[in-house]
């Protein structure tokens, strides 16, 4: 059974369509990357998956059941949002104590370790924390809750690069010891490229890409060289992007899945480089833009 199954999910409010016929499946015990621009519909999707928002139409199942007001499902879910709100008069340790009450899988020893790693002041009031420290509170709750479905929506707002990498390290480390389904929504695609196993790209409320990360990493290449040589080399391949400078052309193309029909680049007079996941996501998103 998959952790999440969504079919033809549509969400409209005040004349705006946030999600438009979304369909996807998130397998269990996998780290999924939910990618897309601001306003693409990522947060709305996660809010619906966690019962915080009500869909207009479509089918949503989490662990085989609808999540809406379903404590059997929601007790297995933890959702840490970008601008997660905490009671302002709570101290940090009280926020963790509340999480320990609510989350059946809460690991206090692990939470204590993370508090030391992120150097969080346990006795300080939430309202006195910096933006980065607030993000650390969310990250610690999300990780130590050990919920079978954990969703992080841009959880590292205000965190510096060192702290973000600490988060990635701890996430991967804990995931290998306690596999669970993790959905990570982020704009920092390069930073999570090696972390995610499955990628869902959403734009304008639609799923543009839904594939295994390994498959995507080799899917697209950048071919550059003289215009004629490049044109001959990429003939028949779907072009994602084309730029020209003087007589030289750079074209981003999607490879044929079986790799057939590709000649040796050196013999063809072109140079070929793999596109990073971030480049592929950016180009695929741009391709979907109205001209």
């Amino acid at each position: 059974m998959s952790a999440v199954v969504v079919e033809d999910l549509t969400m409209r409010y005040r004349g705006h369509t946030a999600l438009d016929g979304v369909g996807l499946t998130l397998e269990k015990d996998t780290i999924h990357g939910l990618l897309g621009r601001n306003g693409a519909g990522k947060t709305t999707l996660m809010r619906i998956l966690t019962g915080q928002e009500f869909e207009s139409s479509g089918r949503v199942e989490v662990f085989g059941q609808p999540p809406r007001e379903n404590s059997a499902v929601l007790s297995r879910v933890c959702f840490i949002r970008e601008a997660q709100r905490y009671p302002q008069n709570f101290k940090v340790r009280e926020a963790f104590a509340a999480a320990a009450i609510a989350c059946p899988g809460w690991d206090q020893a692990y939470a204590d370790r993370l508090v030391k790693d992120f150097e969080l002041p346990l006795k300080r009031q939430i309202k006195k924390l910096s933006r980065g420290q607030l993000s650390a509170v969310g990250i610690i709750i999300g990780l130590a809750a050990r919920a079978p479905l954990t969703l992080f929506d841009e959880p590292y707002l205000g965190l510096d690069a060192v702290a973000r990498h600490l988060f990635y390290d701890r996430l991967l480390e804990d995931f290998s010891e306690h596999p669970r389904t993790i959905v990570l929504s982020t704009h920092l695609i390069d930073e999570v490229a090696d972390l995610v196993e499955h990628v869902v790209l959403i734009d304008h409320g639609k799923v543009l890409m839904d594939a295994e990360a390994d498959e995507l990493r080799g899917r697209a290449v950048s071919v550059s060289g003289p215009a004629e040589a490049v044109a001959a080399y990429v003939d028949g391949l779907p072009v994602l992007h084309r730029s020209e400078l003087g007589g030289r052309v750079r074209v981003a193309v999607t490879r044929r899945p079986d790799g057939s029909g590709q000649t040796d680049p050196r013999a063809a007079g072109v140079s070929v480089e793999s596109l990073s996941l971030q480049e592929l996501i950016v180009l695929t998103t741009k391709q979907g833009d109205p001209k």
Binding site: G51, E94, I101, I141
Partner: protein, 232 residues
């Protein structure tokens, strides 16, 4: 039920914010008024030694429900507490607060009577217009208005949660318009005197327990309906 207990335990994590504030307030009010009347001595007659400090108890708790709706509710739902569990827990919390307020104030009232007005012949709780001979009836008279005030503030908190400041403003405007219309109709039909006469003839228990309970039911139902459809 387990989910409700979890939600209740989270709501009780800050007892100083949820339970204790009215008690601090009444404690401080008693201390200040006692000190004042001790200083004044016998210069003021007994009929003028009545204070309105009891209002401090009720008014100091008005921030609790908006805090629950705007801050604790989104945090609880992030921790996967359902709306239903949160609403049930809040109902339990308010009921417990009411019972505690009623019984506690009735007990303080007994102490006030037993000590001849906190040793300075002061009337802070034993007010003439709320006095009941029976302890539990007195507890009802003190407790139910607390519940009514709480349910009104809970409704305002839920309106703010769902519709923001504009929603709250529209609510007050609509309430003002309805109240003005009703008042105008009563004046024009010369019914105002009858209404005042009706409430004046009601037993004290009806004024302080029955009618506030109607308010509790109306506001509480509206609050629960709003919270259950609240987006987070």
């Amino acid at each position: 039920m387990t989910e409700t207990v979890k939600a209740l335990r989270i709501q009780l994590m800050k007892p100083s914010a949820t339970f204790a504030v009215p008690w601090y307030s009444i404690g401080i009010a008693i201390a200040i008024c006692t000190a004042l009347f001790a200083v004044i001595g016998g210069e003021v007659s007994y009929s003028n030694r009545t204070t309105g400090a009891l209002a401090a108890f009720y008014l100091s708790g008005v921030g609790v429900q908006p805090w629950l709706a705007t801050q604790l509710f989104p945090f609880s739902t992030a921790l996967s507490i359902t709306r239903r569990a949160f609403v049930r827990a809040t109902v339990l919390l308010v009921t417990a607060e009411t019972v505690l307020a009623g019984l506690g104030l009735a007990l303080l009232n007994k102490i006030e009577i037993g000590t001849h007005g906190w040793f300075v012949h002061m009337r802070l709780l034993n007010l003439p217009y709320v006095h009941q001979d029976d302890y539990f009836t007195q507890a009802l008279v003190y407790g139910v208005p607390m519940m009514a005030l709480t349910s009104v503030t809970a409704l305002l908190g839920a309106i703010f949660r769902l519709f923001g400041q504009l929603g709250l403003w529209l609510f007050f405007m609509a309430l003002g318009a309805v109240s003005a219309t009703v008042a105008a109709v009563l004046v024009l039909t010369h019914s105002l005197g009858h209404i005042a006469h009706f409430f004046g003839r009601q037993p004290m228990l009806a004024d302080f327990a029955l009618y506030p309970m109607v308010l509790v039911v109306v506001c509480g139902t509206a609050w629960a309906a709003l919270m259950l459809r609240s987006r987070v």
